[in-house]
Structures are given as structure tokens and as C-alpha cells.
Amino acid sequence: MPVQGVKAVTTARNGVGAFILQCKRLDFHYCDWAGSSRGMVAFLKHKLPAIAKENPQIEIRVSPRPHRHPVIKGQYINGREKAICVRNLEPEQIVNKVSLLKEASGEKLKRIKKPVSSINESVRGIWSPFHGEYKGI
């Protein structure tokens, strides 16, 4: 057989074509009694329905957690979880925390040094010392 095929798997490029939001679930935990949950309870009563309507792709769970501080937990497609404690926060501040969890990719935070990272080949290729004209200095 002159040529054989090599088995491979295509790699996903999220956002090229379809975009999948990486946050798949948000868990809201609150306490009915404690004062640190006052903002959270107000958020759940007044803000959460609108947020849930805006983001149908996120599954939302609300559950009480007595005698503990209120927590928002985000579950991501890559299997990781991010949790933010929202004790004593106002509802507007909790909205910011929710949008932070919603927009996160679920990866660990790391410093990105290069402005662009791509799996596409560069247009002009990889520089080679054996090609191109010799430019004298």
C-alpha cells in the first residue's frame, strides 16, 4: 500500500463556528437566619429570576445551607469548580460576582504573556536559515 492514513482527532476551537459557554451550573447557597446572608437573600428574591432568564444555558440551583456564610459555586465543562463566598455583600455586588463566575472559562488563572496563541499555521511559515535571500549587514 503506497500511502496509509494516520488516525487523528479534530481539535475543538470554541467560538469558531459555535460558542459553548463554559459555565454549566451555578449553585447558590444561603442561610435564612444569619445576617451575612441578608444581601444574598435579597439577590435571590429580586435579581436571580432576571439573571436566570438571560442565561438559559446555565443550570441554576438554590439551596439553603444553615449557619454558614452564603456561597456561589460555578461548575464548569472542564470539570473544575469555582466558589466565591459572598458574605455581607449587597445584591449589586453579588450580581458582579455571578457575572464573573459566568464568564470564567473554568481554567486556573494564569498569566498570559503572548498576545495571540493559535493552532493555525503562521501565514509566512517558520523562519529557516536556508531559505530566502541573503541580506548582508
Partner: protein, 199 residues
């Protein structure tokens, strides 16, 4: 100097290669070379002629091909079908084969094919190789019939007893290899297989 500090127990005269670098003249020379102004001066490259102001008043195309190996996705002009529009766009200058004659072929002899052997010759080759494989090797047959050993291998096969003997000879040789040589041979084989996958 640093070496002197690191190993002070050794006498300096025992390390003669360190001595010239400790001389003040050499130090001065090196310092001059790495001075900031000179480095900048060396890196101040004149721009390529094609980028400069040309005598043409109109806009023109700057042709500056990338200093890279060509991509496999760019089909060579010869491989384009006759009705492809890209055939007309490619010029001789962009193909890069203007100094074809200056390139040396990798084989000394030209691969001219003569096709001088007749079917009776081939029958003769087969008979010789089968009846007396010890004296008529591929190279001897090639020399006699004026063809390549490759052609002999294409035309006929060795006798089974000769094959068996060669196999034993090879095994005897390989049994004397140590671990290093054997691994080196296997690595070489693996590297050879990557040629076809272009890795």
C-alpha cells in the same frame, strides 16, 4: 578571573589557558566589542531595496517572499489542472527555479534507462541465480548484464537455500551486537519511519 576565584587552591600557572584572558589587553578588547553604541551600530541594518523609494511614481507590489520552507498546501504549478485559474497567475519569478543548472544532482550517474535486456536475457538471469546462487550474486549478475542490482532483484528471487544461509549469517552478526549497537540500529529504523510521516 571568575575561575581564579572559584578554585583558589590551584596554582594559576597550572591552568595556562586561563592566563591570556587575564591580560588587560584582551579584557579591553572584549569590552570594546560589547559596548552599547557599537552593538546598536551593528544592528542598524539598511532596509531592503524593494522597500525603499522607487523611481516609479505609481503604486507597485513589493515582492518579498518569506524565508521559509514552502507549505505543502501550495500546489506546485505543474500539479495544477490545466483549467485552474492559478496557472495563469504564477510567473517564472515566483517558482524560484531560475538557477536550476547550478544545483548539483545528489547522484553522480544520470538515471537514464536503456531497456537493453530482452526476455531471453531475463530468463538467463533467473536460471543463473537459481542454479548457482553462491557464485552469481546480484552484483555479479548486474555487472555481467549491464544493469543495476536493483533490476536483478526486481526480476528474480534468490533460491530458498541461499536466503536461509543469508539469514543465518545475519543472525550470527546480530548476535554479536551489544545493547548499545542494537538500540542504535533500532532507533535508526524508527527515525527512518518518520520520514514518510513528515515528522
Amino acid at each position: 578571573m571568575a575561575a581564579c576565584i572559584v578554585c583558589p587552591k590551584r596554582p594559576l600557572l597550572a591552568l595556562p589557558f586561563l592566563l591570556p584572558s587575564c591580560e588587560p589587553v584582551a579584557l579591553e578588547l572584549r569590552r570594546n566589542q560589547s559596548s552599547y553604541r557599537r552593538t546598536k551600530q551593528r544592528l542598524r541594518v539598511k532596509p531592503d531595496a524593494s522597500f525603499g523609494a522607487s523611481n516609479q511614481s505609481r503604486d507597485h507590489i513589493i515582492y518579498n517572499p518569506p524565508p521559509t520552507a514552502p507549505s505543502v498546501y501550495q500546489t506546485p504549478t505543474k500539479f495544477l489542472p490545466p483549467d485552474d485559474a492559478r496557472r495563469a497567475l504564477r510567473t517564472d519569478a515566483s517558482s524560484g527555479s531560475e538557477n536550476l543548472d547550478s544545483f548539483a544532482p545528489i547522484y553522480k550517474s544520470s538515471p537514464e534507462k536503456t531497456y537493453h535486456l530482452s526476455p531471453s536475457d531475463i530468463e538467463e538471469i533467473r536460471k543463473l541465480r537459481l542454479t548457482d546462487p553462491m557464485s552469481w550474486s546480484r552484483w555479479k549478475l548486474a555487472k555481467r548484464f549491464g544493469c543495476s542490482p536493483m533490476f536483478i532483484a526486481m526480476v528474480c528471487e534468490a533460491a530458498p537455500e541461499k536466503k536461509e544461509m543469508q539469514k543465518q549469517v545475519l543472525e550470527a552478526i546480530q548476535s554479536r551486537w551489544g545493547a548499545k549497537r542494537r538500540m542504535a540500529r533500532e532507533d535508526r529504523q524508527l527515525r527512518r519511519e518518520t520520514w514518510g510521516r513528515d515528522e
